[in-house]
């Protein structure tokens, strides 16, 4: 299975994301922001970093990159897309996910290992986990405070689209402790902490991040065999 990892000017975690794909058993394909061609990948990871120097707002410029126009269309057609940190911000700016990520409430950049609780394990990126499972992966952001209007938040909760919540402390003030969400179809997931930094014992606080990438490979193997994505709405 071929999983594309996009590099924007200012991406930082594209190398680690590609490495995580390989460790999970997939083939990592590097995609370039200026190239609209997805080179036949089966899924896409938008990595963390500071695309276009965070000019204007995080993710605001990246949304209009040629590769993003193609990814947005493909995502609406069911392509699995995982946005990590800056990738999550880009997905919100592109309106592929609701809400927005704003300045951390305490104004400090937060960099630490963070516990999350998985709450939706039927998305394309989370089937390797069990409902309620707690995982430990790094968080590192300055603009990670998830906000949306109350109606949207209620909708996300009601449809089982909150994928993960911060537990044992909220690092950035995100509403309702939201760390990750998915779209209605369950193929697009945005997560603020970094699963790609928790895939090897030497450098990560755990191997918990690997589950996101093995989930995608499992999902792709399932759809290749004629299976259907169950979506975030079904419990």
């Amino acid at each position: 299975m071929r999983i594309g990892v996009v590099t924007f000017p200012g991406s930082l975690d594209d190398g680690d994301a590609a490495r995580a794909v390989r460790i999970a058993g997939g083939e990592a394909v590097r995609l370039w922001h200026g190239d609209a061609d997805l080179h036949g990948v089966d899924a896409v990871v938008l990595p963390g970093g500071f695309s276009y120097g965070d000019a204007l707002r995080c993710g605001a410029i990246a949304r209009f990159a040629p590769v993003m126009e193609t990814i947005a269309d493909a995502a609406r057609g069911g392509l699995p897309v995982l946005g990590i940190c800056n990738g999550f911000q880009i997905l919100c700016e592109a309106h592929l996910l609701p809400g927005a990520l704003t300045r951390n409430q305490h104004l400090h950049f937060r960099n630490r290992d963070q516990y999350l609780r998985l709450e939706s394990t039927s998305t394309a990126w989370t089937t390797s986990f069990t409902d309620g499972q707690e995982i430990l992966i790094p968080v590192k952001n300055g603009e990670g405070c998830y906000v949306a209007d109350q109606r949207t938040l209620d909708e996300l909760e009601g449809e089982g689209r909150v994928v993960a919540r911060y537990v044992r402390g909220n690092p950035n003030g995100s509403q309702r402790d939201i760390a990750a969400i998915t779209n209605a179809a369950g193929n697009v997931v945005g997560i603020m902490p970094h699963p790609e930094h928790a895939v090897e014992a030497l450098t990560g606080p755990s191997l918990d991040g690997l589950g996101f990438f093995t989930s995608a490979l499992r999902h792709l193997a399932g759809t290749a065999a004629g299976g259907q994505l169950t979506g975030g709405a079904q419990r």
């Binding site: 204007l56 707002r57 605001a60 410029i61 209009f64 919100c92 700016e93 609701p98 809400g99 927005a100 704003t102 300045r103 951390n104 409430q105 305490h106 104004l107 906000v147 949306a148 209007d149 003030g173």
Partner: protein, 88 residues
């Protein structure tokens, strides 16, 4: 000069931690009668020809502001300073 000014502000219900940090610093300047500070962004767009408010509004709506968290207003910046205000 064909200049259009776009003001972008966080919506009232969105917390502005930067503005709060500024407000909290004001007592150090000896200012004690400010109840709130909110920080926005002013963008000046210069057109080669006549100022085009429709295009400016499109730029503001698609890129300069994020409608999920921000409001914007647009006006032509008159050299005399007598600006024709237009609300978005």
């Amino acid at each position: 000069m064909a200049r259009v000014v776009v003001d972008v502000m966080l919506k009232p219900e969105i917390l502005d931690p930067q503005g709060q940090a500024v407000a909290n610093a004001l007592p150090r300047l000896g200012v004690s009668d400010v109840s709130s500070v909110r920080i926005g962004r002013r963008i000046e767009i210069e057109f080669a020809g006549e100022p085009d408010l429709d295009t400016a509004r499109e730029i503001a709506d698609k890129l300069l502001a994020n409608p999920v968290i921000e409001d914007f207003s647009i006006r032509v910046d008159e050299p005399a300073g007598d600006a024709a205000r237009m609300s978005a």
